[in-house]
Every structure is written in structure tokens, then in C-alpha cells.
């Protein structure tokens, strides 16, 4: 293995070691602050590294990315506000656990499985990168389209009691994602003649509004209640707990790596798919899903960190970003004189192994900082709500503004916050809205590519689908998901059980 010795470079160079540790620590805390997404952290911090040498720059980036993906889970658990889209599924069971006073246990298991998922993702990156990227290159537009539809069908699983409200919310999210100038034809969509709408509605504004502001408003109902005293006596999970969830963790790591390796689909979709997988396969959780099931934490958190290694695969081998963070990193690598793509692994294998080493070290630091900084972090949520809620609202507003330095984003955040509040009051789930916004572009682009390549014929599209093994699997999964939600299916299987 040419250049393998570079794997150890970050381990033995004190400066690189320090930078990875700093990046990981910053990533965890930035990822945990609502509104400060890991994408934003990487894009801002990366601008400081352009004048650096390539190795320190890559070291910092690797640490921020790994820490940031994990950090989003903390506020998801403690405040029900995912710090990053990849932590949306984590809040579904993490927050109920915190409400029961088991925040320490939830964060402990989250950290451990994130470490496990992260390591497995890196292992796959190191050993199977060429194979997985070869698989990704064969993925057709219709397959991407079906992948997006599969993601949206998870809406049904996420929307709790009312599937129809989940479908409404998902479609609403898709529609929000189409606002602005169509990138292919430059046609205006839902701009109503306003220039400010031509650039679209910022995803971050929707996310912070729906999850930050609306949650704060909902919590104002109980503002005078005593804050939940978070029980953090048990942070490090027992071996028995880890071993019990290892099979699920392994399965979800695989989901995370594969989804992460597909261009355009990152930790957020991986986490949602893994959560759905856990809901379908774990028959008898100790606590039902949505009410504090440990499996509901293990699945998304393993998958989203495994997706980091996965996202690096197409980036390193094909020059295609696996998600928004790797897209920024590709730009940074070009600035540093590197050309990510198949030739990078041939010409500079040492750089590939250096990145793998940096990610590994970042994952180790994530475990260390994740298990040691919880008590301090938990203190924050033990503050009186009368102080905490105004702070969360202000933090959300500033976070929304910070992404594009745009007041329009602030107004969108506030509007979505108020709308999200009423939607919550009347039983609409907000997760599907965000999922719809994330998947909108992927679905739009690939639907159009697929239908154009099939000469605008639905028949040819279906015929093409039935000719490809991958398409058949995806198509079959969609049909299964739809059928399994029907009353007839449920009746049949209830009787059988």
C-alpha cells in the first residue's frame, strides 16, 4: 500500500494532533449550537486555512467535520433542537429520554455508537473505496430519484400518528425547496415577482425556524415548570448495553456508509433511513420508538457518523461531493493544489492515507470529548427556562442571519417558527418538512434527467427501471413501503401475528 505510512503522520506530529483535537472540539460545540451547522462551520473556518499548508488545513477540516456531525445530537437530546440535519432522527427518542432524566445515558450511548459508526465508515473508506465508488458511479438518475422518493416515504414512519399530516408536511417541504430560480431553465418558481425569492428560501432558515423558534414557543407553555434535572450519573454505557446493540449498530453503519457514499445524500438521509430500519427490524424495544427507545438513538447516530467515511469515498476517488461539507472540501483541495478524483489516489496515495489518519484521530477525539464534556453541557439546560428560552430564540435568530448575512433569512426563520408552532399544536410533524426541503433538489434534478433520457415517456422510464437490478431493488422498496402502510397489509399481518 503506497503511502500508507502517511496514515500515522497526524498521530506523531504535535501540531497536527492539536489541530485535529481543536477542530473536533470546535465541531462538537458548533454542531450543538442551533443554527451553526457543520457546513457553515467548515465553510467559515476553511477560509482561515487557505493560506496554511495543506496538511494542517486538512487536519482541522477533518476534525470539524467528524465533531460537527456528532455534536448536532446533543441539543437534539437535551432541547429537542437538532444542531444539524443529521440529528433530526436523534431527537425523536433522545429528547423523550432527556425528559425522563436520562440525558447522560442518552449522550453516552450516542457518543459510543457515533465512535463505532465513524470508525467503521473510515474502515470502509480505507479498504473498499474503489469498489464502493464504482458502485456509486453506476447509479442512474432514476435511481437517485427513487432514492429521494424512498427518503420521502420515510415521512410516513416519521410522522407518528397521522400519515396524511406527514405527507402534507413532506410535500410542503418539497415545495419550499423549489422556490426560486430553476437552475436548469432559469424560470421563476413561486417568486411572486420578488428578487429576494429568486435565490430560494435558505434551508437553514427553515430548519432553525421549524426546530428552534417553534420549539421555544411550544416550551413557553411550560415556562414556569421546573427544568428537568438531567440525571448524568451514568455517562459511559455498560458493555452489556453496547454489545446488545452491536448488531443494529453494524447494520446501520452499513446503511450510513452506502448512503454517505452516494453523491448528494449525506448523514441526514442516512440517519433517517437507519432510524426507519431500526423501527422496522427491532420488534420488541424495551421502550416504544418515539418515547425514548435506545435503538432509536443507536440507529441514526451510528449511521450519520458512518456516512462521514462514506462521503469521503466519492470525494477522494471520483471528485464528486458526498454531501455539502465534502463539496466545500473539494473546493479547498483545489485551492491547495490537489485534484480530487481517480488520479489523486494514483499520484498522491500519501494524501489519501493522511486524510484517513486524520479522520481516525478525529473520531478518537470525538469519543474523548464526547464522554468528558457532558456535565458542563448539561448544566446549560438546567438553567431556568425563563432565561434559557429567550437565549435560544436569540441564538436561533443570529444563527439564521449568520449563514448568508441576510435579514430576509431572519424573517423567514421567524415566519417558519410561528407556522411551525401552530403545526405542532395541531399534530403536524415538522421533520418531514425539513426532509422535503433537503430532498427537493435531488428529486427535481434526477426526475428531469431520468424523464428526458427516456424521451419524456413514463412507459420507457418504467421499462428502464425493470431492466436494472439496482432500480428493481429501489422500486421494490418503494412499493413495499407503500403497501406496508395500507390497512389491508396491517390487517393481514395483525391476524398472522
Amino acid at each position: 500500500m503506497a503511502g500508507f505510512s502517511s496514515f500515522f503522520t497526524p498521530f506523531i506530529d504535535p501540531k497536527l494532533l492539536f489541530l485535529i483535537a481543536t477542530g473536533t472540539w470546535a465541531g462538537i460545540y458548533i454542531g450543538a449550537i442551533p443554527g451553526l451547522s457543520v457546513t457553515m462551520a467548515v465553510s467559515i473556518l476553511i477560509s482561515f486555512t487557505f493560506s496554511w499548508d495543506v496538511l494542517p488545513a486538512l487536519a482541522l477540516m477533518a476534525g470539524i467535520y467528524m465533531g460537527g456531525v456528532y455534536g448536532g445530537s446533543r441539543t437534539a437530546i437535551l432541547l429537542n433542537i437538532p444542531g444539524a440535519p443529521a440529528a433530526i432522527a436523534t431527537s425523536l427518542d433522545g429528547y423523550p429520554l432527556a425528559q425522563k432524566g436520562q440525558a447522560g445515558e442518552a449522550i453516552g450511548i450516542t457518543t459510543t455508537v457515533s465512535f463505532f459508526g465513524g470508525m467503521l465508515g473510515i474502515l470502509v473508506l480505507a479498504t473498499a473505496a474503489p469498489i464502493v465508488s464504482e458502485f456509486a458511479v453506476r447509479v442512474q438518475p432514476r435511481d437517485y430519484m427513487m432514492l429521494a422518493i424512498l427518503g420521502l416515504l420515510l415521512v410516513g414512519s416519521l410522522s407518528g400518528e397521522s400519515l396524511i399530516k406527514g405527507v402534507f408536511a413532506g410535500a410542503f417541504g418539497l415545495l419550499i425547496g423549489t422556490v426560486g430560480m430553476d437552475p436548469l431553465t432559469v424560470a421563476d418558481r413561486f417568486t411572486f415577482g420578488f428578487d429576494a425569492l429568486r435565490g430560494g428560501i435558505s434551508f437553514v432558515a427553515v430548519m432553525i425556524g421549524m426546530f428552534g423558534i417553534s420549539e421555544a414557543l411550544v416550551q413557553l407553555h411550560d415556562v414556569h415548570k421546573e427544568a428537568v434535572r438531567q440525571n448524568i450519573s451514568k455517562i459511559v454505557p455498560s458493555w452489556a448495553t453496547i454489545l446488545k446493540h452491536m448488531p443494529l449498530s453494524l447494520r446501520c453503519s452499513t446503511i450510513g456508509v452506502i448512503i454517505g457514499a452516494l453523491p448528494g445524500t449525506g448523514g441526514d438521509i442516512a440517519a433517517l433511513m437507519a432510524y426507519d430500519h431500526a423501527k422496522r427490524t427491532v420488534k420488541n424495544p424495551e421502550v416504544p420508538f418515539g418515547q425514548g427507545a435506545i435503538e432509536g438513538l443507536v440507529a441514526p447516530e451510528t449511521a450519520n457518523n458512518a456516512a462521514v467515511g462514506g462521503a469521503y469515498i466519492p470525494m477522494m476517488t471520483l471528485g464528486i461531493p458526498g454531501d455539502s461539507v465534502t463539496a466545500i472540501m473539494i473546493g479547498a483541495l483545489f485551492i491547495h493544489g490537489l485534484n480530487p478524483g481517480p488520479m489523486l489516489m494514483i499520484d498522491k496515495p500519501d494524501m489519501f492515507w493522511y486524510i484517513v489518519g486524520s479522520l481516525t484521530l478525529g473520531t478518537i477525539f470525538m469519543l474523548i470529548f464526547g464522554l468528558t464534556g457532558i456535565r458542563f453541557f448539561v448544566k446549560v439546560v438546567e438553567m431556568p427556562r425563563t432565561v434559557l428560552l429567550p437565549m435560544i430564540i436569540l441564538l436561533s435568530i443570529v444563527g439564521a442571519y449568520a449563514v448568508n448575512n441576510s435579514l430576509t433569512d431572519v424573517y423567514w426563520t421567524l415566519a417558519f417558527g410561528v407556522l411551525g408552532y401552530f403545526m405542532k399544536c395541531y399534530g403536524y410533524q415538522l421533520g418531514p418538512v425539513i426532509l422535503g426541503v433537503i430532498l427537493s433538489r435531488l428529486l427535481d434534478d434526477n426526475w428531469r434527467r431520468a424523464i428526458i433520457s427516456d424521451q419524456e415517456s413514463l412507459w420507457l422510464l418504467l421499462k428502464g427501471t425493470l431492466m436494472s437490478p439496482l432500480s428493481i431493488v429501489l422500486f421494490g422498496s418503494i412499493i413495499f413501503l407503500l403497501v406496508s402502510k395500507t390497512a389491508l397489509w396491517k390487517r393481514l399481518f395483525t391476524r398472522a401475528a
Binding site: L220, V387, I393, V398, Y426, G427, S440, L458
Partner: protein, 170 residues
Amino acid sequence: MREGHIRRPGEAVFSILMAAFSLFLLWKAIEIDGFSALSSSGALPMGAAATMVVSAVLIAMKTLKSEPDKTETFAVNILPRDVWTGVALIIAYAVLLVPLGFLPTSFLFLFVMTKALSGRSWFFCLWTSAVTLVSIYLVFRVVFAVLMPEGIVPEGQILAWFGKLLSGGK
């Protein structure tokens, strides 16, 4: 929050508004490119809006059929005093942010909201608001160099003065 076999106060109006909003969006989606091609700019917007219309109408029908919850009122269970105070302060914040700038608007927001919610002493509210604002300001303005609207406080000059002070006046 909960799912409504029993209709919550204001839920019927909300569901009708959502259905009307969805219909409006479908109309605007059709206006984008009509039914010109399956790959047109309006294809996904039309599909999404049509899904919204169908689901919103079904939700509205189900909501209107359900029994109203007689134990709840809009003013107590949906929009209680603390919530509408919060919403009003958020709207005020959005209005004042540009003319007053980030620092005074945020301080006023934090102070008034903490005072209104907690009813604690002026000193407590002033102190917590100041500490919170300084922390947020340090993270966003100093560490991440996010330029918030300056307004009436000459932030740039103050920061430059501090910078000069720290560098020994050079």
C-alpha cells in the same frame, strides 16, 4: 402536542387555511410552465402542490367531522399569554433590528422577555441579559466574524479601539 380525533380550538380554521393555501400554491405551480412537458420547471412544484391539496382537503374533512374539545380554549391552550408575548417580542425584534442594530435590539429583547416570563428583579434580568448577549456576541461577532446590523451602536469603532488597546496603542 397531539393528533386530533378531538378537534382542538382553532384547528378547523387552521386546516381550512392550509387547504386554501395549498390550492393557491397549486394554481401558482400550474402558472410556472403549465402542462408543457414532464420535465418542465413546473413538474415537481405541481406534483408537490397537488399532494398538498389532496392531503390538506382530507385533513380538513376529518377535522371538521371530529368533535370539538370542550375542555380547551384558544386563549389558554393554543395561544396563552406567554406564547403571544413571545410571538409579539419576536415580531418587534424583526421590526427593530435594522433601525436600532443588533446589540440594543437583542438586549431589549432578552431583557423584556426575561422580565415578562420570570417576573424576577430588574437586576437579575439586566444581569442575565447582559451576560447572554456578551456570550453570543463573542461567539458570532468576534470568533466567527459575522457582521450583524450595526444600527445606533458604532461597533466597528469600539472593536477597533479595543484592538488598539490590546496591541499597546500601536
